[in-house]
């Protein structure tokens, strides 16, 4: 274990040297290769131990010490945390490329595009062309993504990949027996990370809930996610108003909890509505205009189509509510009455 900690410390020092010192002027291809190998080794350590709290704590302590000494040695030093180790190669690369002292020969090696990249085994990949390959991947994604939008299948590749990553993390956390609040905390921080891209976040959650699950443990994670969703009403609301109808229908088919939550949300939306005489129809209160009466009707119709059994129950409920409102058959007096007539047209 001591050797491992020492290696982690050395690699952190290596990162600092790569980013902040003039030592890199003397680097050649071999040095670069070795540096990348050390970074890869740290990534490997992360993947092995990030679910192991005891070892994780040891490493974090080591990193604290190393960070302290490096802060003293280098001006402008940015600290390395344990979770940063998961992207050690990336950090090395960023540091090197931002270092003005990096010799141009090293850069040429990194951006070499001569030989066709051998991507079979990423482990034994040569350091030459390292950056070139990254650029190829990113550009290829950009070239192909307009085509997936065109075909409008599902949620899109990036949302799907992000959903898979999210579910894997949840699986790991829950199988470890992490406390519920810690896991929720992580979901909350993910949500915060998507600040300003709430629509995309909804796609990710939808994709996460729709991924095929093979084991019971994996279904637990989806269950957990559904529970969290019910607590985070704003997310649920956004999902139901922004997502395409097909996705919502798929979700209601897959998860009973979602169906119930969705139905409850629809009823809540309806109950909040007031009749506006100027506009001649039911609208939501000012300041929270997410859905129109027409759209609400469509939601109900969609729900009934997928779950015919639900129709009777909901209609009974709506009827009871209509009766409690006075049981008028004239439009504009009871939102429940109008809903019923719209749905039964």
């Amino acid at each position: 274990m001591e050797a491992v900690l020492k290696n982690v410390a050395s690699t952190t020092e290596l990162l600092a040297v790569a980013a902040l010192s003039g030592e890199v002027q003397r680097w050649d291809k071999q040095t670069l290769s070795r540096a990348v190998q050390w970074a890869r080794y740290c990534e490997h350590l992360f993947s092995r131990f990030h679910n192991n709290p005891a070892i994780r704590m040891l490493m974090e302590k080591q990193l604290q010490l190393t960070n302290q000494s490096l802060r003293a040695a280098f001006a402008g030093y940015i600290e390395v945390s344990f979770s940063d180790l998961s992207r050690c190669q990336h950090l090395l690369l960023v540091g090197l490329l931002k270092n003005p002292e990096l010799p141009i020969s090293i850069m040429k090696i990194l951006f070499d595009t001569a030989s066709p990249a051998n991507t079979q085994q990423s482990e034994c990949q040569d350091v030459s062309g390292f950056c070139s390959h990254i650029i190829q991947c990113k550009s290829a994604c950009k070239v192909l993504s307009p085509l997936t939008d065109m075909s409008a299948v599902g949620v899109g590749a990036d949302a799907e990949v992000q959903a898979v990553m999210l579910m894997e993390r949840l699986d790991a956390l829950l199988s470890q027996g992490s406390e519920a609040c810690r896991t929720e905390h992580i979901l909350d921080s993910v949500l915060r990370g998507f600040e300003g891209a709430a629509g995309h976040f909804c796609l990710v959650i939808a994709a996460a809930l729709l991924t095929k699950r093979n084991s019971a443990a994996q279904s637990t994670s989806q269950d957990f996610l559904l529970d969290w969703l019910q607590k985070e009403q704003s997310v649920l609301q956004h999902m139901c108003s922004a997502l395409p109808a097909t996705l919502i229908i798929d979700l209601t088919k897959e998860h009973l909890k979602f169906r119930r939550a969705y139905c409850d949300l629809l009823k809540k939306w309806a109950s909040d509505m007031e009749y506006s005489i100027s506009e001649g129809e039911w609208v939501q209160p000012r300041g929270n205009r997410t859905v129109s009466f027409n759209r609400l009707t469509q939601h109900f119709l969609g729900l009934f189509e997928t779950c015919p059994s639900l129709r009777d129950d909901v209609e009974k409920e709506l009827n009871a509510l209509k009766i409690s409102d006075g049981d008028f058959d004239v439009g504009g007096l009871s939102v429940w009455g109008d809903l019923l007539s719209a749905v039964n047209k």
Binding site: S86, L97, S132, R169
Partner: protein, 527 residues
């Protein structure tokens, strides 16, 4: 840069164009331009600024440019950016591949929109991705999709890009996708055939068997009749230009037998008639020539060959009879028929080899038709009506060899050996018999006659050495060995024959090595 300062701006814009950076060649050129602009020892502020800018652009290209939510998520999930982008790329390719798989069913209604519209768009988008290994499954799916809809066309630029990547060998597609590429795109097929020919023919000593076994072309020909027709056309023109070069003929023969083997494997899946595969060949000769000798009992072969020889003779006589006719089109037609018959014979030249084998083991009276066949193979045209004379020469050569190999007295008659050597040397007077024909007879006599091995070896060695036809002798022996192995017959004689061939081969290879050494020595001496 001094004369066109806006070039720098343009270059900068190009860096952010994914269609340029996704393609390997584009990327390489782009970086070359950037390195060109970089000054190792900047002299002034402008150069320093340029250097800074170049570093910044490269850093951004490699490490930034992601949207923030994705970055944040990746960081929390502990996934490095490189892995993330690779996963997204693979996922995108898989999603698009699924779309390609769905064949449309709007055959009836032309106005109905179908999903095939996106195939053209997808193929256009894949133009910069032909060298990207992760995109290979998508490209393969595009090439192999069943063409059911008129809208499901592939972009021409796409096929061209694939073709040039294939030519420079940076394409990474699986076998079936390559076959589909050849099927869709003629230039890439031609390129493949020509490079195979070049590879097989430049190495004059080796037999093309190995290269053909590794090549996909025979299998592709078996799967698509049109590919085989194109390949044959290329062979025809090469053959006409080669003017009787044996290596070309041998290559064609080997290719055709590889093709027939693949076809037999394919037959249970799709039954294409032989007529479709060989539309220009004389139909009544088709099946008889395509039958392999191993499929026929030994006794029947002689009769079969006699029949073949007779048919071909009649065909050539028809052509010659009409020489008095002034109509050039019919003359051309007849010439064409003879050429096609000869071409088919070249493709199935194992029968010619069987003919030679029978020639050396038969009685003088039976030689006629077999000799005719052999002469026709080597001299298909009968310019100046020389064939009759060639037949006479051929007969003389046979007699000569026959008596030589039956002589049991030692030492061997020198003058007879010498006259044989003269026969094998290229002769200036017309009409001469092809030395290869005589060599073929010589080798077969040495192998199949019952005379002692040492005597046969001596004759072969002396004659080959003096006439300088070592390479050719080796070739004939190796191909004979191959043919007998294929036939796989189990008679008691086969073992003896094989041993004999081996011994003779050893002698010839030793001669070859010795002559190489001598050549090298002479070369170093002259230096």
């Amino acid at each position: 840069m001094k004369t066109l300062p806006l070039l720098g701006q343009f270059l900068g814009r190009l860096c952010w164009n994914p269609y340029v950076t996704a393609d390997a060649a584009g990327r390489r050129l782009l970086f070359q331009c950037l390195w060109g602009l970089y000054s190792e020892h900047p002299g002034n502020a402008v150069e320093r600024k340029a250097n800074q800018w170049i570093r910044k652009v490269l850093c951004q290209l490699a490490t930034e440019g992601d949207d923030d939510p994705a970055q944040a998520l990746m960081k929390q999930m502990g996934v490095p950016p490189k892995e993330y982008h690779l996963k997204v790329l693979r996922k995108t390719v898989a999603l698009l591949q699924e779309n390609i798989g769905k064949s449309c069913s709007s055959l009836g209604n032309i106005n109905q929109r179908c999903s095939c519209d996106n195939i053209l768009a997808t193929s256009e988008a894949c133009v910069p991705l032909v060298t990207c290994p992760e995109a290979a499954p998508l490209i393969g799916a595009l090439l192999q999709q069943p063409v059911t809809c008129v809208r499901a066309a592939l972009s021409e630029d796409f096929l061209d890009a694939l073709s040039s990547a294939h030519a420079s060998q940076c394409l990474s597609l699986e076998e079936q996708a390559v076959v589909s590429l050849w099927y869709h795109n003629l230039p890439s097929l031609e390129e493949a055939v020509l490079s195979l020919l070049e590879c097989a023919l430049t190495n004059s000593r080796s037999i093309p068997q190995k290269q053909l076994e590794q090549s996909l072309l025979p299998k592709a020909c078996a799967q698509h009749c049109s590919i085989f027709l194109v390949v044959n056309d290329i062979f025809r023109s090469i053959l006409k230009q080669a003017e009787g070069k044996e290596s070309v003929k041998y290559f064609i023969r080997t290719f055709t037998s590889c093709f027939l083997r693949e076809l037999a494997l394919q037959q249970h899946q799709s039954s294409v008639s032989l007529k479709a595969m060989f539309p220009q060949s004389p139909q009544r000769l088709l099946l008889p020539l395509l039958t392999r000798p191993s499929e026929m009992p030994q006794e029947a072969r002689k009769h079969h060959l006699h029949w073949l020889s007779g048919s071909l003779q009649r065909l050539t006589e028809e052509e010659e009879e009409g020489d008095g006719d002034t109509s050039s089109s019919t003359r051309l037609e007849r010439y064409h028929r003879v050429f096609e018959a000869w071409f088919l014979l070249v493709q199935c030249a194992h029968w010619v080899q069987v003919a030679v084998q029978l020639l050396v083991t038969s009685e003088p009276e039976d030689c006629g038709p077999l000799l005719w066949l052999l002469i026709f193979y080597h001299h298909p045209t009968n310019r100046g009506h020389h064939r009759a004379l060639q037949l006479v020469h051929g007969r003389e050569a046979w007699d000569h060899l026959h008596s030589l190999f039956l002589v049991s007295a030692r030492p061997l008659p020198v003058d007879r050996l010498q006259s044989l050597v003269t026969l094998l040397s290229p002769q200036s007077q017309q009409p001469s018999l092809s030395p290869l024909l005589t060599l073929n007879l010589l080798v077969h006599f040495a192998v199949f006659l019952q005379q002692s091995l040492s005597a046969a070896t001596e004759i072969l060695q002396t004659v080959v050495d003096r006439s300088g036809l070592v390479d050719e002798a080796e070739c004939v022996l190796s191909s004979l060995e191959l043919r007998l192995n294929e036939e796989n017959c189990l008679s008691s004689d086969t073992k003896r024959v094989h041993l004999r061939i081996q011994a003779l081969l050893n002698t010839v290879t030793r001669m070859h090595a010795a002559s190489n050494c001598a050549d090298n020595e002479a070369h170093t001496l002259t230096l």
